[in-house]
Structures are given as structure tokens and as C-alpha cells.
């Protein structure tokens, strides 16, 4: 098609981007406002709200919990997810399509339904402390990312290199760790980072499973904005946006951001 999109279409696209980006810019600007309430345009210029984030222990504590859950849940999901991804890509398994769907089930089940069901099962059947429960639940919600992204990476790997290593005398395990894994390293890093941000952003599952004294950062933010409306939460938002940018840089270097448009 030699015709470029016309002015009208381009205009609509730009407006959509204004819609997508302005809210974040407004939040970022209000974080620097020298007022007790959220003001846009910001009045004055201060970084005291950022200092306040680090002074409120609830934010620090919940961030620490969130970070532990995100790293721990992601590592656990890779621990079981990489072998599954390898099996799905390397061997001819029965019912491959059904199996692949099975491993993305945690995305297909509505998160509030999973959160509620996990709580209800734990409350009435087992007595498991809050943190391990959260950790297992977060492992489940990020597992599909581990399996899918690593599978996508393995799909581009030529397994004859592994065969060669084995025929030259390497054990299966040695061949996997020395030949296969190094070749899909970028896929594993991308899976890690996508799983990490998914866990860190989760609200619906944590909502049901957090308990006395143990809260995650998004849950803490959720209860904070329902009672307070000052720029502290905007400052937290800015810090999280900076982290998102970091995540995007890593994804771009490993998986390529075009992964999201396919």
C-alpha cells in the first residue's frame, strides 16, 4: 500500500497516545507538589513526598514483602517452569495443544476467583502461615510466563547441538546445563523479569491472602488511597514507574519489546 495513513488516522493515533500517557505524566508532576493535597498543576517544588515514602514504615515493609514474593515466586516458577518448557519443546508429548493450555490456566482463571479459592481452601482445610501461602500463590500466577517465554526461546534452539554434546559423551544433565540453558539465557532473563513485574503488580490474589502484619505494596497503596489523598502515593507511583522503565530496558535487551505485539 503506497498510501500512508492520512492525517485523520494519524491524528486519532496521536490522541490515543495522549490519552495513554497524560495520566502518568500528571501523577508524576503531582508527586513534586509542595501542597498537602494532590495538586495539578503542582504548586511549588519539593521532594519531601519522596522522603515521606521512606519514612512511612508500612510502605517500606510492604515493599520488602512484595520484593521477596516477586523474587521468590519467580525463582520457584522457573525451577518448575523451565523443565516443563523443555519437555514441551524437546519431546513429542501427547496432546501438545491441551498441555500448553493447561500450563497457562493460571492466567485464564480470574485472579479474584483464584485468590478467594486459595483463601477458602487454606482457611477451612489447611493451616498455612500467611507468607508461604502468598509465595505459593504468586508462584502459580507467574508460572505461565516462565513456561511460555522459555518455550518461545527453546522453539528457536537447534536441539542437534544438544544431541551432539550427548553423542560426544556428555550426560543429559550436563548437556542441558552447558549447551541448552546458556543458549536460551535471554529467554530465561525475560521470563524472570516479566514474572517479577507480574507478581509485583498483583492485587486480586494478594488481596485475599495478605494477613495481619503482612501486606504487599499494591495492597498497602490500595488501602492508603482509600483514606489519604496526599502526594505520597504519587511519589510511590513515580518510583514504581522508574522500576517499570528498568524492566522494559531489560525486556528490550533480551526478548525484544516486539514480543508484546504478535
Amino acid at each position: 500500500m503506497d498510501r500512508k495513513p492520512g492525517f485523520l488516522l494519524t491524528g486519532v493515533a496521536l490522541l490515543v497516545y495522549v490519552f495513554l500517557l497524560t495520566p502518568m505524566a500528571i501523577v508524576a508532576a503531582t508527586a513534586f507538589s509542595d501542597t498537602q493535597f494532590l495538586a495539578f498543576p503542582p504548586q511549588g517544588l519539593t521532594v519531601r513526598w519522596f522522603a515521606n515514602v521512606f519514612a512511612v514504615s508500612a510502605f517500606l515493609d510492604s515493599f520488602w514483602i512484595s520484593a521477596q514474593l516477586a523474587v521468590g515466586g519467580t525463582l520457584l516458577s522457573l525451577l518448575v517452569g523451565i523443565p516443563a518448557a523443555y519437555a514441551l519443546s524437546r519431546f513429542r508429548v501427547p496432546m501438545p495443544r491441551a498441555l500448553r493450555t493447561f500450563f497457562v490456566l493460571p492466567i485464564l482463571v480470574p485472579e479474584v476467583v483464584f485468590g478467594f479459592s486459595a483463601l477458602s481452601a487454606i482457611n477451612q482445610t489447611f493451616q498455612i502461615p500467611v507468607f508461604p501461602t502468598l509465595l505459593i500463590a504468586h508462584t502459580i500466577i507467574v508460572l505461565p510466563y516462565s513456561v511460555r517465554v522459555v518455550s518461545a526461546s527453546l522453539a528457536n534452539f537447534d536441539f542437534s547441538a544438544e544431541e551432539a554434546a550427548i553423542s560426544l559423551g556428555a550426560g543429559r544433565l550436563e548437556a542441558f546445563f552447558r549447551i541448552v540453558l546458556p543458549n536460551v539465557r535471554s529467554g530465561v532473563i525475560a521470563a524472570f523479569i516479566l514474572a517479577f513485574i507480574t507478581s509485583l503488580n498483583n492485587v486480586p490474589v494478594s488481596l485475599f491472602l495478605t494477613g495481619p502484619g503482612i501486606s504487599t505494596l499494591p495492597i498497602q497503596m490500595l488501602s492508603y488511597v482509600e483514606y489519604f489523598f496526599d502526594p505520597t502515593i504519587a511519589a510511590v507511583s513515580v518510583l514504581l514507574m522508574i522500576m517499570t522503565i528498568g524492566v522494559m530496558v531489560v525486556v528490550e535487551r533480551t526478548l525484544g519489546l516486539s514480543y508484546f505485539a504478535k
Binding site: 495513554l20 500517557l21 495520566p23 519437555a87 478467594f116 490500595l222 522494559m248
Partner: protein, 274 residues
């Protein structure tokens, strides 16, 4: 090769999904029918309650409207991205992915700042004289729809970019040289070929809006309860576990139904869709 090796590798993740996800969700489903006689009486009780019916319809209405708007604004945007030179295309995609990876509490909070009584939009509209007094924008269905369109339209855009890029330019040239108008090319060539992306995007936006908790909680408030917030209230405030389980089953059933219906629609619009 040991024939049990694939099974052994699949087993840990598989067991985890069964034990942690499927058993508890299955148990939730069981909770709605045991101790009830006849077994469906719990559903009758929950679904005949006018309040719950109102919530169900509101949730469907909000999700359908959000999906429609996301498709309407997403299509031209994706079209422009798909026709952009590579560097600009990458920039567009980065800017669409950025909100997608940002914390949903942050994204809903942004709209609280904009739509509040003394928020940015009211201030601006009153300032330029379009409004005499601040209008009520927060805690309305409209606010929830705006929040959802904001939250999920990147998913629609990204789903559409993929398929629109795959459309062979020669096909469009052929249609034009055979005398089709711009509008006819769009309606009879571009649109049918974009159906798979449109369906994927719609399923993502609809199921996302249908089951989201954070956005309706923060932007809709107590007056605009949706299924997800109702489920939470029943479970955590009223401690009505059977009622909450019933809502959970309704959510799962509706999600599956929507996916099936949309796939059926896709097959009718474009017979090559699998």
C-alpha cells in the same frame, strides 16, 4: 532415551497447578452445590436477588462498553503503528507497553487525580467556563469505563498491530486497482483479515474488565459494585462463603462463555480462523 523423562519434567509444574489452582477452584465450585437441595438452589437464591442481578448487568455493560471503545480507538492506532517505519513503530510499541507494565493501583490512582471533584478535569472545565460547578465524575460507571479503556486498550492495540502488519500490501493494491474504494478496501479486505487480532484483543479486554478488582474499587466506589468487588464483599465482609463461591462460578462461566461466543463470531466473519 528414558520414556518417562518428559513426564518427570512436566510433573512438578503440573502437580503445582493441580494442587494449588485446580483443587481449590474445584472446591469453590463444590461449595456452591453441596448441602443444597436441590443442588442448584444456591444459584437460584443468589441470582434471583435483584441487587446481584444489577451487579451482574452492570459488570457486563461496563465490560462490553470498554471492549467496544478499546476496539474503536485501538484499530486506527494499530493501523498507523503497523504502517510506520521501524524506528517509529518501536517507539509506539514501547509507549503502549509502558502503561501495561505499570502497577494497576498507580493507573487507577491517576484517574482519581484527573476525575476528582477538585481534580484536573473539573478544574480545567470550570476554569475555561464550560462548567459552572465541578461535575461528579468519580464513583460513576463512566469513570470505571474510562479506567478500563485506559488499562486495557494497549492490549487491543498490540493484538491488532500483529495482524495488521501481516496483511500483504499487494492484496490492498490489487483491491484498489480492481476499482475498490478506500472504504471498500477497508471493509472487505482489511477488516476481515484483522478479525483474529480483533478477537484476541476483545477477549483480553473483555475478560480483563469483567474480572478486574482494583479499577472498579477505586473509581466506581460502593455505588458501582461489580462482580469482583461483590465477591470480595461477600467473602471478606459478610463472610458469606457460599454466596462468594457462587459469584466466583458465575465469573468463570461467563468468561468461558464469552471466549466461546467470540471465537464463534470470528469463524463466521473469517472462515480461516481456526
Amino acid at each position: 532415551m528414558n520414556r518417562w523423562l518428559p513426564l518427570a519434567l512436566l510433573l512438578p509444574a503440573g502437580v503445582m497447578i493441580v494442587v494449588v489452582l485446580l483443587v481449590p477452584v474445584g472446591r469453590t465450585m463444590g461449595l456452591t452445590v453441596v448441602d443444597q437441595s436441590p443442588w442448584w438452589s444456591g444459584y437460584v437464591a443468589t441470582l434471583s436477588d435483584p441487587f446481584t442481578q444489577g451487579v451482574l448487568w452492570r459488570t457486563l455493560r461496563i465490560a462490553a462498553l470498554s471492549t467496544l471503545i478499546a476496539a474503536i480507538i485501538g484499530f486506527p492506532t494499530a493501523y498507523v503503528i503497523a504502517r510506520s517505519p521501524p524506528r517509529r513503530r518501536s517507539l509506539f510499541i514501547i509507549l503502549a507497553v509502558f502503561p501495561l507494565l505499570t502497577n494497576p493501583v498507580v493507573r487507577a490512582f491517576a484517574w482519581m487525580v484527573i476525575l476528582g471533584r477538585n481534580g484536573f478535569l473539573n478544574d480545567t472545565l470550570v476554569g475555561i467556563g464550560l462548567l459552572d460547578a465541578p461535575a461528579r465524575m468519580m464513583f460513576t460507571e463512566g469513570a470505571v469505563v474510562v479506567g478500563f479503556v485506559y488499562l486495557f486498550s494497549p492490549l487491543m492495540i498490540l493484538s491488532l498491530v500483529g495482524v495488521l502488519e501481516g496483511i500483504d500490501r499487494d492484496l490492498l493494491d490489487a483491491a484498489t486497482s480492481l476499482g475498490a474504494s478506500q472504504a471498500a478496501v477497508f471493509r472487505r479486505v482489511v477488516l476481515p483479515l484483522a478479525v483474529p487480532g480483533l478477537i484476541v484483543g476483545s477477549v483480553l479486554v473483555f475478560t480483563g474488565s469483567f474480572t478486574a478488582y482494583t479499577t472498579p474499587q477505586l473509581l466506581g466506589g460502593d455505588r458501582n459494585t461489580v462482580l469482583a468487588t461483590l465477591l470480595y464483599q461477600k467473602a471478606m465482609v459478610q463472610l458469606d462463603w457460599v454466596g462468594a463461591s457462587t459469584i466466583a462460578v458465575v465469573m468463570v462461566a461467563m468468561t468461558i462463555a464469552v471466549i466461546l461466543v467470540m471465537n464463534a463470531v470470528a469463524r463466521r466473519l473469517n472462515p480461516t480462523v481456526g
